[in-house]
Symmetry: none
Subunit: 190 residues, 2 copies
Amino acid sequence: MKRTKKERQTELTSRIQENPFVTDDELAKFFEVSVQTIRLDRMELSIPELRERIKHVAEQTFEDEVRSLPIDEVIGEIIDVELDDYAISIFDVQNEHVFQRNHIARGHHLFAQANSLAVALINDDLALTAKAAIEFCKPVHSGQRVISKAKAIRNEGRRTIVEVKSSVGKEVVFKGEFDMYRSSAKKEED
Amino acid sequence: MKRTKKERQTELTSRIQENPFVTDDELAKFFEVSVQTIRLDRMELSIPELRERIKHVAEQTFEDEVRSLPIDEVIGEIIDVELDDYAISIFDVQNEHVFQRNHIARGHHLFAQANSLAVALINDDLALTAKAAIEFCKPVHSGQRVISKAKAIRNEGRRTIVEVKSSVGKEVVFKGEFDMYRSSAKKEED
DNA sequence: ACTACTATTAGTACCAAGTGTTAGTATCGG
DNA sequence: CCGATACTAACACTTGGTACTAATAGTAGT
């Protein structure tokens, strides 16, 4: 079943998008066209060759300055971080995050945002949550944007106490105190 | 200034480590030896070629990106529940639940299992978590099965205190006390 | 001095996954 | 039927290698 050129090119784009590791040859077989056609398509769509694509993906991670944690291991989007000091993230509550019955956000999503922010804050390869005391102050509904602020407030050797407050607008909806464990004691700055 | 073979190889390893994007040619020029020598060194140290190195770096990130799926509706599978009394669920820790770096399960997944179990336990349309004090006792790794047991231990009008203990085998890995809020006071059973 | 051994270099053939270019065919619309 | 668009094919060249063979230099042992 042959597609038109346009259809093929749209699908080509998305296929390469979702799997950058695919070769022209594999694509040619999949679309039942010649490799040359695939190459022409890539030209027109200005999609670089396999090696360049892979290199690009590799460079992204490699040049990532955030040592403690890749950005996408975080629930919510980190918008500012000063390691071992403070961090801020935003999390947009969508339909999939709420109870169907009452449209209130499930607690674990708010927790996840706060927890992963606390982890991201710690300037250490191995940061784990040891304990936490949390409070869900107000229900959050779908469509709302939660801004979470984490602050390292105390160091006790391998433990760092992180305070997290999440708000919707001016309203605090969640607070928590996280007792974070790190693999090595924090180096005191001079 | 020529180094010995051993010196060169140690430095070669670290140079490639800190910059996987370097070619044999560049290394040869840096060490003032022939490319062949560099290749022999790589053989001996079993360091793969440039493209394989880059591919490896890229695959890591790519897997990380794919992994960042949202938390499901129900976390863990509830295998037994007696409303307002106790509930049990199991949760199999998969690769997507752990930190790539150290393969330890991210805290919010364990929290999510416990929290949703606590919610499920409450015999009420509108059950919300108000507060929680939790403790991550032992790291959980991918492949392990976490069994979570929730028990309602006290009722205070619209509040129900639920105690949750999660274990892998006989080992307790997580405990928490959840202060649950319900829309109506608990109906006394007859 | 002769031999053995290691380290290094050189050169060849080959590969994957391309680029760049030219040329030829097929198919469709007006 | 003509010409445009789409597709295919073929060839030379590129990068960054592998795999293999052969040659050379230096050093130590006996």
